[in-house]
Amino acid sequence: MRGCVPVRERFHARLADQWEYHMSRFVLSLAIIFSTVLTPAFAVEPTPAKATATEPLTIWWAQWAPADGLQQIADVYAKETGTKITVHQIPWGSFQDQVFLNFGNATTSFDIVVGDSQWLGRGATRGLYVDLTSWLPGAIDLAGIKPQALSNLCEYPSGSKHYFAAPCETDAVGLAYRADWFTDPAEQAAFLARFHRPLAVPKTWTEFAQVAEFFHRPAQNRYGNAQLTGRGYDAMAMGFQQVLWSYGGSWGDAATYAVHGHLDTPEAVKALEFFRTLTTFGPKGATNLDYGQVLDVFTNGSTAMSCTYFAFFPTIAKQLGPKVGFAVMPANGERHAISLGGQGFSVSAKIPVPRQEAAKKFIAWFNTPAVQRQWITKEAGFTANTAILASAEFRAASPYNAAFADSLDHVRDFWNVPVYNELLASAVKHLGEALDGADAQASLRAIADEHEAIFEDAGLKK
Amino acid sequence: MSDAVQSPVLVLGGVRVEFGRKSVLAGLDLTVGANELLIVLGATGAGKTTLLRTIAGLQTPIAGTVAIAGVDMTHAPPGLRDVALVFQNFSLYPGWSVRRNLAFPLRAPGRQLSDDVIDERVTWAARLLHIEGLLDKPAERLSGGQMQRVAIGRALVRRPRIFLFDEPLTNLDAKLREELRVELALLRRQLGIPMIYVTHDRSEALALADRIAVLAGGVIAQIGSSESVWNTPVTAAVAALLGRS
């Protein structure tokens, strides 16, 4: 998440991160408690600001490299149009809480939020995001956008042609591996002798497991792989669901919201048991690695392969240079599914209409091919523009761009219904239990039970 | 009950005090005259201390009246009653000199006495109690007898309308008790302030009293001069209290 720094400094940086995270949560809790207690009695309507064309806009996003890139693009926009735009960055841990707390006010402090894909349902159904359905097709060439990205990042419900966001950062999980170890002749010989095939970047999960097992040598402080298994927000779900889908399971039926028969099938159980096996070839604490830790154990040079979002790959490439290679996530025979990442631009419904229009103008400008070509030059600036993705120029621009372009064909996402966070929390908690040693089938059945109850409660289940 | 009291200073009429369901004072009548020293005798738990607290205003009766100098004070706070209470525990401020301890009641808010007046009163009290030499000594370095003198002095400087003593000599050595008893008797002749004095020591009671009031069952069982109570106790219990069994 940060630039190239020695281990010790990175540790301190993590310390600072966590500190900020906890303090912001603490202060936030206090603020919420007081506001919920006092608001009904003392709420004061803030006077809405007058909007003019040149009035500055504010974008809220998480604190990471792509946001720096977005600020640079926005500075270009300011030069061209005179509208100044500030990208306000919030630590990942409190990003969601701060955004939705702010939505609780009469007016939001931001005009645009670059929101997580799962937030769409809540933003759309609670009247927080401006409905872009009639505007978006005229403002952006939708045909030129990767359909998987469009449906997962912009539509709610998925496939309904109702738009509540426009593409900003498109992301997917990819595979980063230690090219230097893979090409070491001694390793290659040893691998061949053991598995009777040459050592190569794994294309299937079976191969992946073999390679991970092969490189797993804890006594030498070397580990096979690192998967997303963090319990804080969605890391665990993002890490596991690609195995789930690849093995033939799923989170449930998007039409009927039935979960039993999808998440607790023998295939799904096998997927979870396999995922657990992978963590046994991981570094210390492999059953609970959040995004930062997955990045850490790979960049500190101890781990052979790591599966995480492409947005982290520029950092990896900068730190490890030629020692690292990037690839598409493995498949399981025919089945190939990859966790979608990334966020779309949404316009706050709680700002005056003129400001909404000004915000839309910027979003349309950002999605023009010319600007998208600039965007991909920024660190972790990933586009959803089909033409750019397919261009040889894009594929050659970085060691990971080709893999990224190929990954987008296979992306899928977690539920993006309004109650996504309850679903996430329940899933992450029980998956965590399973990784901690509980019975896989029981854990999945528990998730299925809870998820169906949540759907029923939310009035979604048919 | 025979002795009629001339110009009463304190009149209690039908005073009733209950703690929970327990009746401590059950309609008690008592009259104390100007310049009188009244001894209150009674067994443990007879309500002697409660009687003093009721007079001082630390305890509000559920029925009856307390009149001081002809004014109904039943519900007046202690500060307005102008009575002084001396306890068996000396309760001096330890870090302070004797002088400061003696002057303390005079410096209470609302009194506004000049330093000269305060000084004069402190010296006067110290002379009466023979503690002039101790004025600059810290209170915690005094002997038990000296401490009790200072405690009495602290009540004295205020020149209250009534003195209330709650077994002031009980915690002292037997010998010291004898000596202080004599001094108290001499002192009260000089002061001319009425005193109500609770004790269980019969020597003290007989020696000091103008009248003795025997408290039993929440009322005054007998009241009269030392001689009359000694010579004609109304009950065996009264006789026992006086050591005549």
């Binding site: 009904p40 804080g232 604490g285 609970n288 966070n421 329940s426 409660d457 | -």
Partner: protein
């Protein structure tokens, strides 16, 4: 006149209580019957649905189990450790004040800070604990924060580290309040040291220790900061009632449902609070008796 003045003093307190205690309490109970959300917007009455969800929620049952387990183990260990330390320190020696002050520092610091601090001590790779263990020859030191068997233990350990000194302080006060002449009487009576401890020290300290344990228990039942810092709010083996509440209200934004959870928690805490008040009253009457 006195009475009117009395009311003048009481009214501000009453107002304060109503605005900051009674009003939020009632409003949270009312909220429990709605489906209102943190982001505002419309809400409607849902009757007892939230409450029935709470009682049918396995997460809730699990959180109650975790919370009670945490409370019982932490408070018991703190009590035992604090009391044993107090027995050792209940005498005069040079440096006693310094030792006491040092021991009390953890208690004075905010739990959130302590949680984060220990989080780094527990870290599998960088953590001081594991580095020491590793240097001591243990090749695979335990993973405090990720090993399911150790996570709750880690939280308990930090709580014990923070709060045993509190129990020590209370125990010292309890030991100090036992009149010296009782020990002298026991010595005359030829009681062995064990008998003195069993028959005098322990029973005379017990009311105060019980009160301290109750106070700590009401606090431990609300355990939040340490869990947040060490494992996060959504870990199956450490999710307490408070972190579950946090999850429901702040992450899921379900204020109505959260209020229903909170009401049920409240009943638990009130039950304990009544216990504390009763214990206090009992102690006061016992002391009043002794003073005669």
């Amino acid at each position: 006149m006195r009475h009117r003045l009395g009311w003048a003093f009481v009214i501000p307190t009453l107002l304060f209580l109503i605005i900051f205690n009674v009003f939020p309490l009632i409003s949270s109970v009312v909220l429990g019957f709605t489906n209102s959300e943190l982001t505002g917007g419309s809400w409607e009455w849902v009757g007892g649905r939230n409450f029935s969800r709470v009682f049918n929620d396995p997460k809730y049952a699990a959180a109650v189990r975790t919370t009670v387990l945490f409370t019982v183990v932490a408070v018991a260990v703190e009590l035992a450790l604090g009391f044993i330390l107090a027995l050792a320190l209940h005498r005069d020696f040079r440096g006693k004040t310094a030792i006491l002050t040092l021991l009390l520092i953890p208690m004075m610091l905010p739990p959130a800070v302590m949680g984060i601090y220990w989080n780094f001590l527990f870290d599998g790779d960088y953590g001081v604990i594991n580095q020491v263990l590793h240097a001591g020859g243990l090749l695979a030191p335990p993973q405090w924060r990720t090993d399911p068997g150790l996570k709750l233990l880690a939280v308990v350990a930090v709580d014990v580290w923070m709060w045993s000194p509190f129990m020590l302080l209370i125990s010292l006060a309890g030991l100090g309040s036992i009149p010296k002449h009782l020990y002298e009487a026991a010595e005359i009576d030829r009681a062995s040291r064990w008998m003195v401890f069993r028959r005098i020290t322990l029973p005379l300290c017990a009311p105060l220790l019980g009160l301290a344990a109750l106070l700590r228990a009401t606090d431990a039942l609300k355990q939040f900061d340490l869990v947040m810092a060490i494992t996060g709010p959504n870990d199956a083996s450490t999710q307490t009632l408070s972190t579950l509440l946090y999850q429901v209200i702040f992450s899921n934004q379900r204020v109505g449902l959260g209020a229903a959870y909170a009401c049920v928690v409240l009943v638990l805490v009130i039950a304990l609070a009544i216990g504390v008040t009763r214990a206090l009253a009992r102690m006061r009457s016992a002391n009043a008796g002794q003073a005669v």
